[in-house]
Amino acid sequence: QAPAPTRWSKRNLSWRVRTFPRASSLGRDTVRALMHYALKVWSDITPLNFHEVAGSTADIQIDFSKAEHNDRYPFDGPGGTVAHAFFPGDHHTAGDTHFDDDEAWTFRSSDAHGMDLFAVAVHEFGHAIGLSHVAATHSIMQPYYQGPVGDPLHYGLPYADRVRVWQLYGVRESVSPTAQPDSTEPREPPHLPEPPDNRSSTPTQRDVPHRCTTHFDAVAQIRGEAFFFKGTYFWRLTRDRHLVSLQPAQTHRFWRGLPLHLDGVDAVYERTTDHKIVFFKGDRYWVFKDTHAEEGFPRPVSDFGLPPGGVDAAFSWAHNDKTYFFKGQLYWRYDEHTRRMDPGHPAQSPPWRGVPSTLDDAMRWSDGAAYFFRGREYWKVPDSELAAAPGYPQSTARDWLACRDPQGDSAGAEGGAGAHAPPGQHDHSHSEDGYQVCACSS
């Protein structure tokens, strides 16, 4: 055991439930949800971010084990010792958390003999981020089990525990230093403990944008696929332009490391030099390696030589591999190799004729063309040309998002005869035969 207090040097930590309780009434998704909310208790007030991963490389591996299980803390059947976790450090067990599989793990149960999994998990994750036991009877870090601590959606850490974790990691940006720690301001409770990553649960219709009627905040080609971002959601198209799902996915659940309170993004592009993905929002930007934000972000857009206020659009033109940024009527040309803005920018009237003077976003595509999006329409500039192709603008919803009637997603939108193939691409979907259009990218 590393001498306490130690702490994590990084801020983005991955976790994974490797083994589940074998004889508990709690389903796997509930166990994962409870772990999510128990970690969220600590990430809500510190700069730490936790995200669930599937692989065996998680920083915090969570296991339900019995009796002797290869560490110095054998469990002892029901009661007695119920769980433990390892402090941060450079040993491979750092952060790992073990629960005694002989305990009757419960959630929202009046069973006096049950062990409330959420309460114990909050305590153990306190160890996993570096907090040791304390003698304060009201602290979540005192060593004895004291029963359930209430609903995970409304649980607030005792003040003494907040101060101790702030001493280790500082205060999360969104937690105002002037607010009273015990202030009674209403907190918007997230949904009931549902699986944080349960794709089958559909968000409430009320706030989900509809792909056939919306215009987009950002569009990007990433690893050969197209991503359309709107608010906190995005749609994803495979390389042959088929929608992965008619329902949008939630941005922050896929792109790990974007602040939860971000209400949308302004522009996204994939960097040609290292294939990292750059997200822009206001004055800040994030660089992602695959789907995880890198340490040290967000940073100010002044890194690019861009003025405060951020950008409307960003894309890398296949013709010269330069990155173009757009803001209002102005555009910039950025050289990714020298990491400098080309002289003479910002400038007015971008090199492509026939495209609108202001944009929502732009992207390159596998056909070598550049596509410019604004409102519900898009313009195509074929490869090596400097003017929009004739016949544009066309409808984004119809040509990219499998909507037949751009004004609404009528029954025929997903199928039926007459679905219109986007220009330049023959329609391989089954819609003429009345099949449902569907695709699976992995």
Binding site: A4, G80, T81, V82, H133, P143, Y144
Partner: protein, 85 residues
């Protein structure tokens, strides 16, 4: 207070060394400490738990030792007691 039963005493000593109030038992020599050291360890545990620090394995202390809890020690592993020459 009545003297604790033998099994309570051994439970107590094992519990105290497991959670950092007594040095871990030497696998060869086992556990050997004076009454004074044991009383100090019990009092430390009672203070940490918010009980009255009597230094005796009384009922409240034994009951708490049977309460479900976290496996980690409360104190970094106790340094071996320095014996008075």
């Amino acid at each position: 207070a009545p003297a604790p039963r033998a099994e309570d005493l051994s439970l107590g000593v094992e519990w105290l060394s497991r959670f950092g109030y007594l040095p871990p038992a030497d696998p060869a020599a086992g556990q050997l400490q004076t009454q004074e050291e044991l009383a100090k360890a019990i009092a430390a545990m009672q203070r940490f738990a918010g009980l009255e620090a009597t230094g005796v394995l009384d009922e409240a202390t034994l009951a708490l030792m049977k309460t479900p809890r976290c496996s980690l020690p409360d104190l970094p592993a106790a340094a071996p007691f320095r014996r008075r020459r």
